[in-house]
C-alpha cells in the first residue's frame, strides 16, 4: 500500500500537482533523503511501493511545462545514480500520473509480472554508450586517397568560383557524405562484433552528427565492464588520430527497455 501522506487527486478537475515517475525499481531499495528531482520548485524524490516493486517519483506542478535543462539532468542523474545499486526500468522523460494510488494500482500492480521479469533481466547490468567521432581532416584525406572520382572533383573545384562550380561541389559533397556513412557502418560493425560476447545486448544509436563514427549502447554485466574498456582501448589504438572514442556509463538502461507497444 502506498503511503498516502500527500493526497492530491480530488474529485474536482482543477488538479495542480501530479506524480512524476522516473522509473521502476525492486521494492527493497532505499532512498537517500533530500534528493530533489524535476520541476520548479523541484520535488523530493520518494518511493511508491507495492509488493516487491517500487516506483521512483516526485511531486510536480502540472501547470508548468517540463523540459528545462535542470529537469532533463535531474531525470537522468537520478536514474543513473540508482543503477549503481539496483536495477531500474527508466521511464521516458515526462511521465506524470494523477496520484500515488494510481502509480501503485495502475502502474505497479497492473503490470507486475512484466516489470518484475524485466528487472530480473537487468539485475547486475548497466548501460554504457560508446561514441566515436571522425577527425574531419583525417577522414576526408582518407576518402580522397581511396576515391579517385572524389579526388578528381576536388581538383576541379580547387580555387574555382564557388557559384560556377556549385553542381560539382554538390556531387563531391554527396560522395563524401555517403562514403562517411559507409565508413560509419563498417566501423560500427567492427565495434559491435568486438563486443559480441562481452555484452548482454547492444543497440546501434542513430547518428546525430555527420562526423559520428560509432554510436552504440551496450548492456553490460558489472563484471564485464573491464572488457568494454579493453575493447575500446584496442580500437582507440587501431583508429589513433582517425576516430576519437568516448565511453559514457554506467547509466540506466535507456536503450534496453521495451516500449510496451
Amino acid at each position: 500500500m502506498p503511503a498516502s501522506t500527500q493526497e492530491k487527486s480530488g474529485p474536482d478537475t482543477g488538479q495542480q500537482t501530479g506524480v512524476y515517475v522516473y522509473g521502476i525499481v525492486p521494492g527493497d531499495v532505499k532512498l537517500h533523503s533530500g534528493v530533489h528531482g524535476v520541476g520548479d520548485p523541484p520535488g523530493e524524490i520518494r518511493l511508491v511501493r507495492s509488493g516487491d516493486l517500487a516506483a521512483l517519483v516526485s511531486d510536480v506542478d502540472i501547470t508548468r511545462p517540463l523540459g528545462t535543462p535542470g529537469d532533463l539532468q535531474a531525470h537522468q542523474e537520478i536514474l543513473d545514480a540508482t543503477v549503481a545499486d539496483a536495477p531500474v526500468l527508466p521511464s521516458r522523460f515526462g511521465a506524470v500520473l494523477t496520484s500515488e494510488e494510481a502509480v501503485a494500482a495502475e502502474l505497479l500492480d497492473a503490470n507486475h509480472d512484466e516489470f518484475a521479469a524485466a528487472l530480473r533481466q537487468l539485475e547486475g547490468r548497466a548501460q554504457y554508450i560508446v561514441r566515436g567521432r571522425y577527425a574531419e581532416q583525417v577522414i576526408l584525406e582518407e576518402i580522397l586517397s581511396e576515391n579517385s572520382r572524389a579526388a578528381r572533383l576536388r581538383d576541379r573545384i580547387r580555387g574555382a568560383d564557388p557559384d560556377a562550380t556549385r553542381e560539382l561541389r554538390i556531387q563531391l559533397g554527396e560522395i563524401l557524405n555517403n562514403t562517411v556513412a559507409n565508413k560509419r557502418q563498417a566501423d560500427t560493425r567492427l565495434l559491435v562484433s568486438a563486443m559480441k560476447d562481452r555484452c548482454a545486448a547492444s543497440v546501434v544509436r542513430t547518428a546525430t552528427s555527420e562526423m559520428d563514427a560509432v554510436y552504440v549502447a551496450f548492456l553490460i554485466d558489472a563484471d564485464q565492464a573491464g572488457e568494454l574498456e579493453r575493447v575500446v582501448a584496442d580500437l582507440s589504438d587501431r583508429w589513433r588520430g582517425r576516430v576519437e572514442l568516448q565511453v559514457r556509463g554506467p547509466m540506466a538502461p535507456y536503450d534496453f527497455v521495451g516500449n510496451g507497444g
Binding site: P65, R92, G173, P250, N259
Partner: protein
C-alpha cells in the same frame, strides 16, 4: 587523442546537457502504454532531435571542407605560423552546425550537481 571519460564501475561521469538530451530523448519506457486512465498530460517543452539529414547544405559543407583541406596542404611550404593559422581557421569554419548547437547547449549544462538515486536496502547505511 582518445578521451576516456569513465571506466567501469566508477560511477556516472559528468555530462553536458547535449549529452543528457541525446541519451534520454525518446528513450525509456513509455508509461502511456501501461497506464491509460490516470495519466496527466503535462506539457513537455519541445526538444529538437538532432538527426543527421543529408541535404545540399551538408554536401556543400563537405565540399568546402575538402577545398580548405587542399589549401592548407598546398601551403605547407610557407612558414609554420601561416600554415597553422589557416588550418585553425579552416577547422573553425568547417565546424558543423550540429556541433555549434551542441556547444551552445553545453553552456546550459555542466552544473556540476550530483544526485543520488535509490540504494538497495541490503546495506543499512544512510
Amino acid at each position: 587523442m582518445t578521451v576516456m571519460q569513465s571506466g567501469g564501475g566508477r560511477g556516472p561521469s559528468p555530462t553536458g546537457l547535449a549529452d543528457v538530451i541525446e541519451t534520454i530523448l525518446d528513450k525509456g519506457m513509455v508509461i502511456d502504454a501501461y497506464v491509460r486512465v490516470s495519466l496527466v498530460g503535462i506539457e513537455v517543452l519541445t526538444i529538437d532531435a538532432r538527426v543527421v539529414i543529408a541535404s545540399v547544405d551538408t554536401y556543400l559543407r563537405f565540399a568546402e571542407a575538402v577545398n580548405r583541406l587542399d589549401i592548407s596542404q598546398e601551403k605547407q611550404g610557407l612558414p609554420g605560423l601561416v600554415g597553422d593559422m589557416q588550418e585553425g581557421g579552416a577547422k573553425h569554419k568547417t565546424k558543423g552546425m550540429l556541433d555549434a548547437a551542441t556547444d551552445k547547449l553545453r553552456e546550459f549544462g555542466d552544473s556540476g550537481r550530483e544526485r543520488q538515486g535509490a540504494r538497495r536496502g541490503r546495506r543499512e547505511e544512510d
